[in-house]
Symmetry: C2
Amino acid sequence: MTSIIHRRTIRKYKKEDIPADKLEALLYQASRAATMGNMQLYSVIVTRSEEMKEKLSPLHFGQPMVKGAPVVLTFCADFNRFTKWCELRNANAGYDNILSFFNAMSDTLLYVQAFCSLAEEAGYGTCYLGTTLYNPQGIIDLLKMPKLTFPVATITLGVPDENPEQPDRLPHLAYIHDEAYQDYAPNQLDIIYYFKEQLEENQQFVKINGKENLAQVFTDCRYTKKDNEAMSASLLETLKSQGFL
Amino acid sequence: MTSIIHRRTIRKYKKEDIPADKLEALLYQASRAATMGNMQLYSVIVTRSEEMKEKLSPLHFGQPMVKGAPVVLTFCADFNRFTKWCELRNANAGYDNILSFFNAMSDTLLYVQAFCSLAEEAGYGTCYLGTTLYNPQGIIDLLKMPKLTFPVATITLGVPDENPEQPDRLPHLAYIHDEAYQDYAPNQLDIIYYFKEQLEENQQFVKINGKENLAQVFTDCRYTKKDNEAMSASLLETLKSQGFL
């Protein structure tokens, strides 16, 4: 597990392919992650064809890893398989609701991280695409996902062709609470975010974007209220049409 | 990473304590997991006191691991810390919506699994409590969690005092799809669930519960439509009162 301590996101990959049997072995080993009632409420869709990568690319806002990686993995919360099995057995499945979606999303994300740890330990590089939740309907249509499934994470995977610096992380006092949540006083926030705020590259982002500080880069440029609210509305619509709300 | 291949849930722990510095080191190392825009949208509340375990126990339906483990960890999706920082910097935070909750929940669950892998590699045993999402309001009240936080996972942690059999897992053909989702035909479902259905212990569950088959044990006893719908309604209420909906 030294690999997780040294982990960095890898966005550039060698042309080298990933053999199907190696990938399948990693995907199978990852299934040892904890799963709700041992139901394994996930599926993974493997994209290797250039044609499908071409179509996936705009759904991930053109991030170059989609076309640059030998393999793109779309991990889906999946209550379809389990429900179809229940129906086949004359059992009254009741998994078309938000709790069931959350259970499936939890299973899926534990599985994703177990897979990433195994893949990185095997020498592969991964990049987690947060854009999956920005346009789930487009992904659902392209990958022909039925009701009671939902894409929750996308990983690009390949042999690393770069070795970037590790990004900063908050000091652990920032997120560990003893016995109860201790809310944050202004002077604590100053300490917690000090290292991040004084980083040369972050000060550059502030300057380039003409902002007063790093927080404004996040709120005004990267993750704006307007975008979050528009995407939240479409997320809820898609949860409804996939049968979870 | 051999630990994940041999992983099993551990529900019985030795009386042995977990030193605070060891736990903190593992919680810090796990922060290397991928995180949305490097925002680290999570917190973890560490329960060690008997008094708090006593109060947490009924919120997890009396599962004995809560009182039996030296440490209980409640992992929370957390946009409170980031939002408070934004406010302190005069930045217009817009994270009181469902997309932001999903982003924080994703960060949190990747972090949880990274932590579990590290803890298991270090020789500890873990049990993932799915009950966290069943009664989030009770947990929020007890752990004094502010708006824009939400408990999404609970892990009990300790030195293993048992070595149970590994549970079955589905064959990987069950959840891997090439290029697009391939829906399940009845004969495929028969194959996928064959091993699980013929397991001695599962046949016992069917008999004890007076059901026709294993699927009915799930739908009629373990995860019923009625319970799921009731808990879904209160989950949505709590998402609303925590400021995410």
